[in-house]
Amino acid sequence: MIKAVSKTCRIKRLLQILLFFNRSYLTLRPLQVLIINNHGLPRLQKYFSPLPPSHTPPTLTRHIFNSIASRPDSFCNYLNLHIEDWGDVKLIYRHYATLYFVFAVDSQESDLGILDLIQVFVESLDKCFCNVCELDLIFHSDKVHYVLDEIVSGGMVLETNISMVLESVREQGKLGKSSLRMGEGKQNDVYRR
């Protein structure tokens, strides 16, 4: 047991606790996930915590895009951004061809770890769609959500293993399919608008 807690250490802990009080709202902020194309159009935006009333998802996404898009790719993949009424967020992003993948994070996760997580996300999508491109994300946005749900849950890292992610998504696909077959015999009218 590590019970040798010195007095200074106790004071330190008290300060820690105090700090917790002051910033408890920050601890609550999980990561946010965005996919934005080179023109600033959102392809996926998932905010896991309520936004302050002064922002809506589109305005915030736009703001984030503007601050990232101006950075050349030779710069580092981190940017601290001040968002009004929300404080500072750290953006960790990667730029792939026509898409920016942006994770806005708090300090609970490792900075480089998130960079890897973005890679996992992209590779999972790539395998899922067989060389993913922007159009896939547009026309199959549901699938993107399912993949993301297997990687990030409630704004926290859930699974980092690509084959595990794909496995789960495939399982769900099968389930969905079989439940469809069971449920509806008349598939014909479904193509009508």
């Binding site: 917790f20 920050l26 708090d106 480089l112 890897d116 067989c130 026309f139 849950s153 699974e159 980092t160």
Partner: protein
């Protein structure tokens, strides 16, 4: 380190081509209606076209939803996906929630799946639909044996994280997590769901009971489960580190498996690194136990081995992804070593430092960025040995300050800021100023503030400090905030002993002589020459008249605010030098009709001053007295705000002595008894007391199921115990106000001037729910209060489940002198009994007091004046008063925010002075404050408490407060 060969920016993804083309059936691939909708939107010529198309579609869907007759399952899914898509494009979607709810409740998986995704996007916490959906979710969680449905439910709970959902379902989530039948996929989701939950409701898990479950989970072989469990464990540990100390051996065991044996299923090799995420989490967890290395446990050696292996075996790799993963682990290992500090292994520390030194000089921007960041954490953590080493990197860091990337520049600036001390302040500040000339707007403001703080904090001489600030103004005057130059004035005014004032007057004279002086420099110059110009007026070419001319040449170019300052300077000169009165008079006369009200008023007043006779004028225009240094420098407050913006709750930052709360504590320790921190840190800090109300407390109160140990002492309504808790809270900012086996009421309070913020935490400690739970606070005429209360406990009453906590925030302002503490009645009903506890809130006159330091003469003078308004009482305490007890009394005096006046005290007395602030205004609109003097005299086992204040009611209140506190000693 090479810049990655594989550029993250490559045109296509280079992952190996998949062997299969998985055709998961998804709604979007079959629903032509949806596909058409998306295509239409993509083909829209303009934003208007698009929004027209969306409106049309939304109207169509709305009519479909409201029309009678049921929709087919397929239609429902299709329309809901259209809503989701429109929502994603940024359109407002405020209907269709009922359809989402029905999809969630469906028995078919395909419907459920769509329903849950839509729910987590469209429904927000606090939505009225939430209550309807809870039962469906509960069924999926525990009722069904279907893993897929359980997974969906868990994901959506975590995603939505509404407080209602959490409260309703946290028991079920816990049950799923610890259920032996749960599959890994379900288990890892449950762990994260629970983490989200405890972030929102920290008290929903009884730590003591939960630790064994965690240790079971840590023995799981599934990496995904382990990673999620570690996330959960870190979340739990950050609140109650002692409870989870037993998990350390498990964590180290897993770490050694990954690092030393590299045994992991091939799936979890990420670019040949065994699950970097899990390694990071494990290291993060260990950082919560900084004394770990010194504990002498057997696992310490293993841990040391792991750390050494990570440090030594990390190679530079040509794949950017491999290199990222390895460095992620490496940085975490370095952070861990940093946290262990001197209690850790010295070799490791040196190696870590060497690596960091390497990182901050590589070209790869990410690594450099993280290197700089980690190094600044290191600099704050251990002040001595490491700081010396860090200082050797100064030139490298300065180089990064010139990087093109603002993120890197900011980190470099942060690092320079924390590595600065007396020895290198001048060179660092010089570097920063040189760079400031070329710096762009994005970083200037931050730099200016930091330079100003460094210059003041580590000034080798006051002259250097003033020169530095003047340089700042001349280089980047627009970014120099008022608080920075106000600070210069304060320091110059308060240093009347040496020749600083004369020096500054000369300097300002020279600066203002230039036509191009910055408006802020003119402001400083006006003030300084007005106040101290006479010190140089004898010198050749600097007579009063010349000084006036030097200032007046700027008049047309400066803003009204600065003109006001200059006008005051003119008035002071008017008083001092008779020869320039004829020049100044017309200026005042002209401004009599200025459009600026402030200038108009000043000029009129100053003009008339002259006619009131020399004595009055001299008296009014005398030199300013020294400023009150009791106040925390506004500059530091500004920096605090800056800091708080960038702050997070990483284990480092919590210990960061530069962080606002701790910094203010240490900084002001020499000069100012700031109650907030000092009271905590000084006399016997009681961590348990602190923990008592917000978190399930560790040792003394134990799990919720066991009756608290201290229960015998605090029986229901025991007046002595209630009085003692109350008394304790009078001099401490937080603690438990009342506690028995049913309910615990904690208070956290913070006062500034006439205003206070009081948080009440009332927790249900029993095993059954309370109904009709109420916190009644009768209105009192002397306090203006506003109450924030989410649960309605202060209004109609609410229901409080076991282990649940009601929180109420009260903002109070004293608006009249008073003596009686306001009341608080806690009432609730259990199934068998009705409880009612009348309590008092610890908001007393001394709460609104600010300390005043006076000398003996002033104290005795006022003491005599106030003799008529005295309140006195003699109390008996349990033992004979000895010197140790007198020290406690002195500490109490500080705790109650009185400034001690030691000069008038003998060994058996203790006197203090304070001023009670109220928000009430007097005739002139100034806030009324009540000066208070108090004197405590000991004799045998008796104390005589005497309070003399400007107001008899306050005298009585102050006396009563002190008596209560002394009795509780």
């Amino acid at each position: 380190m090479q810049y990655p060969v594989v550029d993250p920016n490559r045109p296509t993804l280079t992952s190996p081509a998949p062997l299969y083309r998985p055709l998961y059936l998804s709604i979007t691939s079959t629903a032509r209606g949806l596909q058409n909708f998306i295509s239409d939107l993509r083909n829209a010529k303009s934003k208007e076209d698009e929004s027209k198309r969306v409106s049309k579609e939304l109207a169509n869907i709305r009519s479909k939803f409201t029309a009678s007759g049921s929709l087919s399952s397929y239609q429902k899914k299709k329309y809901v996906w259209k809503l989701v898509y429109a929502f994603m494009l940024g359109y407002d979607v405020d209907f269709g929630h009922a359809e989402v709810v029905s999809l969630v409740g469906s028995a078919k998986y395909s419907e459920k799946q769509v329903g849950y995704v839509a729910m987590s996007l469209l429904l927000k916490a606090g939505d009225s639909m939430m209550n309807m959906i809870v039962n469906s979710i509960r069924n999926d969680l525990v009722g069904s044996y279907d893993d897929a449905a359980t997974s969906l439910a868990l994901t959506s709970i975590a995603n939505v994280s509404g407080i209602e959902l959490m409260q309703a379902l946290h028991v079920e989530v816990q049950r799923v997590l610890v259920s032996p039948n749960a599959t890994p996929a379900v288990r890892k989701k449950a762990a994260l769901c629970l983490l989200r939950l405890i972030r929102q409701l920290p008290d929903s898990i009884a730590s003591a009971d939960f630790a064994p479950h965690i240790s079971n989970l840590l023995q799981d072989r599934h990496m995904g489960v382990l990673t999620s469990t570690m996330s959960l464990l870190i979340g739990l540990t950050s609140k109650h580190e002692q409870e989870y100390e037993t998990m350390i051996p498990y964590a180290i065991h897993i770490l050694s498996t990954l690092v030393l044996k590299k045994s992991v299923s091939p799936d979890y090799l990420y670019y040949r690194t065994p699950s970097p995420w899990l390694q990071i989490k494990l290291l993060r967890f260990l950082q919560y136990y900084p004394e770990l290395m010194a504990s002498g446990q057997a696992y310490v050696a293993t841990l040391k081995q792991c750390l050494a292996r990570i440090l030594n075996d990390t190679d530079v790799s040509d794949s950017i992804n491999k290199s990222n993963a390895d460095h992620a682990v490496l940085f975490e290992a370095i952070s861990t070593i940093v946290v262990f500090g001197d209690s850790g292994d010295e070799d490791l520390q040196l190696a870590a430092m060497r690596l960091l030194g390497k990182f901050i000089s590589v070209r790869e921007p990410n690594i450099r960025y993280l290197g700089l960041m980690t190094m600044s954490r290191l600099a704050v953590l251990h002040n001595n040995t490491n700081k010396e080493q860090i200082k050797t990197f100064q030139s490298v860091v300065v180089h990064s300050l010139k990087d093109a990337d603002i993120s890197v520049r900011r980190r470099a600036l942060d690092l320079l800021f924390v590595m600065c001390d007396q020895t290198n302040a001048e060179s660092i500040v010089d570097e920063l100023i040189t760079y400031l000339v070329a710096a762009d707007a994005g970083i200037r403001e931050q730099m200016v503030l930091k330079i100003a703080v460094l210059a003041e904090k580590f000034a080798t001489s006051k002259k250097w400090y003033v020169d530095t600030i003047l340089k700042l103004i001349s280089i980047s005057g627009d970014q120099v905030s008022d608080s920075i130059w106000h600070r210069v004035i304060v320091i110059v005014t308060n240093n009347s002993d040496d020749d600083l004032q004369q020096y500054v007057a000369t300097t300002m004279f020279d600066v203002c002589s230039s036509k191009n002086a910055h408006v802020k420099a003119v402001a400083v110059g006006s003030y300084v020459l007005g106040e101290f110009g006479f010190l140089i007026a004898e010198e050749a070419g600097k007579s009063g008249e010349v000084q006036f001319q030097v200032l007046h040449q700027h008049w047309p170019l400066i803003d009204a605010n600065t003109q006001g300052i200059m006008l005051t300077a003119f008035a002071k000169m008017y008083n001092l030098y008779e020869e320039i009165r004829p020049i100044i008079d017309p200026i005042f006369a002209k401004l009599k009709t200025s459009v600026d009200v402030e200038l108009q008023q000043r000029s009129n007043e100053y003009r008339i001053l002259g006619s009131l006779g020399p004595e009055i004028m001299e008296d009014i225009l005398r030199e300013m007295p020294a400023f009150d240094t009791q106040k925390v420098s506004t500059l530091e407050i500004a920096l605090d705000q800056e800091h708080s913006d960038t702050h997070d709750v990483n284990v480092f930052k919590k210990k960061d002595p530069n962080s606002p709360a701790s910094k203010r504590g240490s900084k002001t320790a020499q000069q100012e008894p700031e109650p907030e921190i000092l009271v905590q840190a000084e006399p016997e800090p009681e961590p348990d007391l602190l923990d008592g109300f917000d978190d399930p407390p560790p040792a003394p109160i134990g799990g919720f199921d066991d009756p608290p140990l201290s229960k015998q002492a605090v029986t229901v309504g025991d007046p002595a115990a209630v009085a003692s808790s109350f008394a304790k809270l009078l001099s401490t900012p937080q603690g438990v106000l009342f506690q028995n086996e049913y309910v615990q009421v904690g208070v956290k309070q913070e006062f500034r001037g006439s205003q206070g913020r009081i948080q009440l935490f009332a927790g249900n400690m029993g095993a059954e729910s309370f109904t009709n739970f109420k916190l009644d606070m009768p209105q009192v005429p002397y306090l203006r209060t506003t109450v924030q209360d989410e649960m309605g406990a202060t209004g109609a009453g609410c229901t409080l489940a076991p282990k649940q906590q009601a929180r109420v925030m009260i903002m109070a302002e004293a608006i009249a002198p008073y003596c009686e503490a306001p009341g608080l009645t806690v009432t609730f009903e259990t199934s068998t009994t009705t409880h009612s506890y009348p309590l008092k809130l610890p908001i007393v006159p001394t709460s609104f007091t600010e300390p005043v330091t006076v000398d003996k003469a002033a104290f005795m003078g006022r003491w005599g004046q106030l003799a008529a308004k005295e309140s006195q009482e003699i109390i008996t305490v349990s033992r004979t008063v000895d010197p140790a007890m007198m020290q406690q009394v002195a500490a109490l005096l500080t705790g109650l925010k009185y400034g001690r006046c030691q000069e008038v005290d003998s060994p058996t007395t203790c006197s203090g002075c304070g001023t009670m602030k109220t928000g009430a205004k007097d005739g002139q609109g100034n806030p009324i404050s009540v000066g208070c003097l108090v004197r405590i005299e000991a004799n045998g086992d008796k104390f005589r408490v005497t309070a003399r204040t400007l107001h008899p009611v306050v005298s009585q209140g102050v006396k009563e407060t002190f008596c209560k506190v002394l009795k509780a000693l």
